[in-house]
Symmetry: D2
Subunit: 345 residues, 4 copies
C-alpha cells in the first residue's frame, strides 16, 4: 500500500479525491489538509462521509506530509501549488497537481493566462496528465499537471483526429457545457440556487483560461499553431460536462476513417468509450465515473464533423483522472479504484 | 374585442396561448378545443388556472369555431392542421398555425422533411411568422405559419447579418439547447424526471426537422443556398432555449459593423434586446417573456463570430410569437398582451 | 392612480413587489430604493426586466419618498423598518411592512423572538395583514405588518377551524416545506446550488421565529393559549411552500363540518381555493399566483385531520399579499393587479 | 463466492441491486432477468454501465436461475413474486423479495391492502427484513420480505422508542417525503419532468399501502394496536427520503432518555447514524448509501417529540437493505459491499 495525501481536501475536487482514494485497493489515504478547516473532521464538512471516512483535516505542514505520504495530490487554487510543489518534489515525492500551475510546457503561455511562474524549471519537468495521450511520460513523471475539465472533454475527442491529419486544424470550435460544481464550493451569485435553476448561459466567451491550455496541446497534435474557438456554458445541474466540437474534415475524409482513427487511438484504453452510431454521449451516463464518452456525426449536407465528448467534470475532469495519473506513475493497474459501478440514476 | 379560439389548448404551447390570450386587453378568448379532453374544464388539466380561466375544452367543430372566433390558433401536431385550416380560411378566418404545416414556402422542402402536403395552394399563401423579419407580409396574411422554437432563436440573430452580407454563409453552425417543455406533455423516457435530472445530451444531430425550415429562410436572406449545421441539445430544466451560433465574418468586418447591423435591423422592434458588451444572453432573463435576447463576441484570436440568441421556447418560440403575429394581423399594438413583467425568478 | 414606492426593491420579495406593482392597473410605482444598489438600474440586477421596468434604484430619502408616494412598501430585513416607518406614518403615508417588525400585537412576544422594539406605540396601531382574516381592520389601517410566508400557509387553513371550535387547539402540528427563495438573495452554503440540489432537510426545528407569530394569532382564534409545533423544511426548488398540518378534531366533528366551516369562512374570498376531495394542494398550482390552495383529509382509522395549505412564498407569502393589503387599504378591488393567469409550467 | 441472481433487474431498484452486487466482494452476480428486455444488454438500458457490467437480461427461467444462483433477489411489482418464490424456495434457494408480498405476518392485513395471497404458508415463514430490528430471524430465514422505503425511514426511528415504552403509541404522525425515483421507471404524468420540477405535493394521504405495513410492525413493537397517521409527499428530486415523525413522549420522558434508548438499540449497528444535537438529517448525506440518519428534537414549549429519519429510498429503502439482508442470511459481514464512500455531491 502506497501512502498518499491530499492538500486541499475540502473543495469539491478535493472531496472527490478523498472519495476515490478511500476506496482504492492499492493506496492508503493517510493525510488530508485544509487551509480553512484545519482541525475539523472531514465528515463535519461532508456529513455523508460519517462512519465511512474518519479523517480530520490538518494544516499544511510539509514535514508531516512528507513523513506520511509518498504521493501528494494538490487540489488548491492556481498559484498556490507552484509555491509548495518544489519542496515536495525535492524531498522525492510524486505530485499530481489539479491546478493549472503545471499544465503548460510553454512558460509564456502560462504567464499570459495566469501570472508569473515561480518555479519555471519544474514546469519543464512536469507532464501534462492527459492519460490517454501521455501515458508513457506520465509513468515516468515526478510532477503531473492534471488537465482542466473542459480540456479533457475536448482534447480526448480531438487529439487523435488532429494527430491523424483528418481535420483542418483551422476550423475548430468547441461549444462546452458544464455543471455548476465546476465553479466550486465558494459562494457566488453564479452558483446561488435561485439564480441557477432554470438558467442556461454562456460565460467567458472566447476568453476562458482553459483556451490557451487546449491551444498548446492541439498545436502539438496538429504540428502547427492551432487556435480553438471555445465557448463554455453553465448548466443547471451539479456535475457533468458535454462538449460539442465542430470541425471540417480534410477533403475526402469519410466517417469510417474518423471512427477507425478514434478506435485505433483508444484501443485498449479502458476509460474512453467510443459510442456506436445508435447512441450519443449523455452526461448522465458518465456521472460518478472516470469515463469519457465520445460520439460523432457528419452533417449529411456539408460533411462538417460534429464530435462530442462527455465526462463527469469532477471525476475524469479532475479527481478521477488524477488518480488515473497516480496509477500510471505507480505502475498500478490503470483502472485501480476507478471502476466501481456508478449510480444508475 | 376580437374573438379568438385555440384549437388544441391542452398541450404546453396551447396552455401558454390560453395564458397569454386570457390577459390580452384587445381580444376575447371564447373557445378552446381538445381532442383528448373534450368536455373537461381547463382547470382540471391545469389546476393553476382555477378561479382565473373558467373555460371548458370542446371537441373540434368547425361550425362552432367559426361562429365563435374571428382568429383561430391551431396548436396541433404536424399534419393535422393542413386538414382543417383550409376550411377555416375559406370561411374567412385568420389562422395562426403553430405546427410546421404552413412554415415553408418551398413545398418540396416541407415534403422531404414531413409528409405530402394536402393543401399546397395554401402553403403559397401562408406567411412565415417570424415577426421581426416579415412584419409587413404578416399584417396582410390570412395564414401565418408560426416559426419553430429553434428557428426563432437562431434566425433572429442570423438573418440581419446574412442579409447585410457581413457573414460567409457557408460557415454557419448553431449549437442549440432547449428546456424539456419543448418535448411537450406527452410521456416518454426522454422527459421522465429521473432521466432528465443531471442529464445533458445532444439529439437528432444534424437531422432535426427544424433544419430545413431554417435553411429555407437563411438561403433567402443570403440570396444563395445555405445549409446550417444544426445540433439541438436537451437541458435539464423546463423552459428556455439558448442557441450559440458560430460563423466567419467576411474579410474585414469589425465588431462595430455587426452591432450596427443588428441595431439597425431591430431599431424600434420591442421584442429583440441586443445586449451590450458587458452582458450575455441567459434563458433565465427571457423566461415567461416574448423577448429574444441577442449577444455576440468575436474570438480575439481568429475573429470568428460567436452569436447567441435566448428565448423562452414556449413564448417567443411558440405562443407568444403567435400572439405577436395576431397583433400584427389585426393591426393592434405589437406588444399588446405581451409586456407583463416576468417573474424575477 | 395612487403613487407607491418600494423601500428595499432588490431582494427577491422586493423584486416580486416591483413585478406585481408594475402591472397593477390602479397604482403607479414611482420610486424604488436600495441600500446596496443606489444609482443602479433595476434591470441591471434583474435583466429580465430590461425593456419592461425602466426604474433606477435610489438611496433611501424620506423627503423624496414622501413626495413621490402615498403608499410605501418596506421590504427590508427585520429591525430596519421600525427605524423608518414612524416618520413615514407621521407624514401621513400608508405603510405595508414585509418584515416582522409590525406583525405582533404583543410586544413581549416580538421582543422575545427578535429584539427590543423602538416604536412600540406603532405596534399597537399596526394591523396584522392576513387579508382573509383581518380585512376590515386592514381597510382602516395606516400600518400593516405583512404576514410571514409560513404563517400565511398555516394560518389560513387553521384559523377558521380553531375559531369555529372544530379542533382541539392543543394538538396542532405543522410540517412546512419551503422553496429556497425564502432564504433570499444573500449568499450562503444553504442556498449554494450543489448543496441544495438533491437535498431535503428540516431546519430550525421548533425554534423558528415564525412560531411565536403564529402562536399569537392561533391563540386569539382559539380564545386560549395555543402553541403550534412547527417544523420548517427546505425544498430543492426556487419558489413554493406547502404546509401539512395535523390536528385532532373535537369529538364527533365530521368531514362535512370541516368543509362547511372553511367554505363559509372563505365564501367570496377570491384568493382561497378550497379543493374538493379529488384533489390535493400542489405548490406548482399556486406558483406565481396570490392563491392559497387548501385541502384536507381525515385519516380513516383515527379521524385525525390532515390539512394542507399551498402558496407561492414570494406572492401570497410576501409581495402578493402585500399588494392585496394595499388594495384593501385603498378601497380598490381586492384582486386588482393580482389575477394574471400564471405560467402553466 | 456465492452466486446470486436478480429477477427484474431493469427497474430502478433492480438496477441499483445490480450496481451494489457488482461491487460486492463476496458474491458473484451471475444472472439478471427482465420480462420486457430479455436478450438486451444491461448497458443498453443503463449506458452508464458500459464497460463495467457486461451482463445481458434473460427471460425468467426457474431452471436456469436455480442452476446459476444460490440467492435470488426478486425486484418485481407486487403480486408477481408470490407466483414464483415458492418454487425457488422449494429448490432450496434463499430469496429476498423487494415487493410487499412477503412483508406481512398477518395475512388479512396483506389481503386488505393488496390482493388474495396465493402462498400464505410462505408468508408465515418469511421474515420482515428490517435488518436492525430482526437481524437474528433474518440470519435464519429462507425468505425475506424487504421493507418498503417509507417504512424503513419511519420504523427505524420509531421502533426502539415504542418498544422502550417512551412514547404514547396513539399519537404517532409521519410526514414523509420521497424523491421521484420511488415512482419507478414507468411513465406517468406524475414523473414527467415539467410536472415535477418546482412542484411539491402530498399524495395518497392516509391511504398509502405502506401504512398497514407499518402499523403491523409498530403494533408489535408497542404490544398494542397502533395506527400511524401517514402522509407521503413527492419531492422534486430523484432520490432521497426524509420522514418527519411527531409523537408525544410518555409523561416525564426527557431528551436524554430518548437519546439513550436509540443509542442502546443501535449500538454497534453500522448503518444507523444517530446525529448529535448540532445536526439534522438531510437526504443529501445518505444519497447512494445504506445509512439511515436519525435525529430528533423536543419542542421546548410542549415537549412533543420531533423525530427524523433520512435514507436513500433506492438503497437503504430498497436495494441496499436487500443486500444487507443477504449479508445477514449468508453470515457475511453486515457491511460487505455497502460501505463505499458516497459521492460528496
Amino acid at each position: 500500500m502506497t501512502r498518499v495525501g491530499v492538500i486541499g481536501a475540502t473543495g469539491y475536487a478535493g472531496a472527490e479525491l478523498v472519495r476515490i482514494l478511500w476506496g482504492h485497493p492499492d493506496v492508503e489515504l493517510t493525510v488530508i489538509t485544509s487551509r480553512q478547516y484545519a482541525g475539523v473532521c472531514f465528515d463535519a464538512l461532508y456529513p455523508a462521509m460519517a462512519g465511512v471516512v474518519p479523517l480530520t483535516c490538518e494544516a499544511y505542514d510539509p514535514e508531516r506530509i512528507c513523513a506520511q505520504a509518498e504521493v501528494v495530490f494538490t487540489a488548491l487554487p492556481h498559484k498556490l501549488p507552484m509555491g509548495i510543489v518544489p519542496e515536495l518534489v525535492a524531498r522525492g515525492k510524486k505530485v499530481i497537481d489539479l491546478s493549472a500551475d503545471f499544465r503548460f510546457r510553454e512558460l509564456a503561455r502560462y504567464e499570459a493566462a495566469y501570472q508569473p511562474h515561480s518555479a519555471p524549471e519544474l514546469l519543464a519537468a512536469a507532464v501534462y496528465g492527459l492519460c490517454e495521450v501521455n501515458a508513457e511520460q506520465i509513468a515516468a513523471a515526478r510532477i503531473v499537471g492534471n488537465p482542466g475539465c473542459y480540456p479533457t472533454s475536448i482534447l480526448l475527442p480531438l487529439v487523435p483526429l488532429l494527430a491523424g491529419g483528418l481535420l483542418d486544424p483551422q476550423t475548430l470550435v468547441a461549444d462546452a457545457k458544464s455543471g455548476v460544481s465546476g465553479a466550486g464550493r465558494g459562494l457566488s451569485l453564479t452558483a446561488h440556487f435561485c439564480e441557477v435553476a432554470e438558467s442556461f448561459k454562456a460565460y467567458k466567451v472566447a476568453v476562458h483560461r482553459h483556451n490557451p491550455e487546449m491551444d498548446e496541446v492541439l498545436s502539438r497534435a496538429a504540428a502547427q499553431p492551432v487556435h480553438l474557438t471555445f465557448v463554455p456554458h453553465l448548466l443547471p445541474m451539479s456535475r457533468g460536462m458535454l462538449s460539442t466540437i465542430y470541425a471540417l474534415p480534410r477533403e475526402g475524409v469519410q466517417a469510417g476513417e474518423i471512427r477507425a482513427c478514434l478506435e485505433d487511438f483508444y484501443a485498449g484504453r479502458p476509460f474512453v468509450r467510443l459510442l456506436d452510431d445508435s447512441r450519443l454521449p449523455d452526461t448522465r451516463n458518465v456521472r460518478g465515473t472516470n469515463f469519457c464518452d465520445i460520439g460523432f456525426r457528419l452533417d449529411p449536407h456539408n460533411r462538417r464533423l460534429i464530435l462530442m465528448g462527455a465526462i463527469d467534470n469532477l471525476v475524469k475532469g479532475a479527481a478521477g483522472q488524477a488518480v488515473q495519473n497516480m496509477n500510471l506513475m505507480l505502475g498500478l493497474a490503470e483502472t485501480a479504484g476507478l471502476m466501481a459501478a456508478p449510480y444508475p440514476l
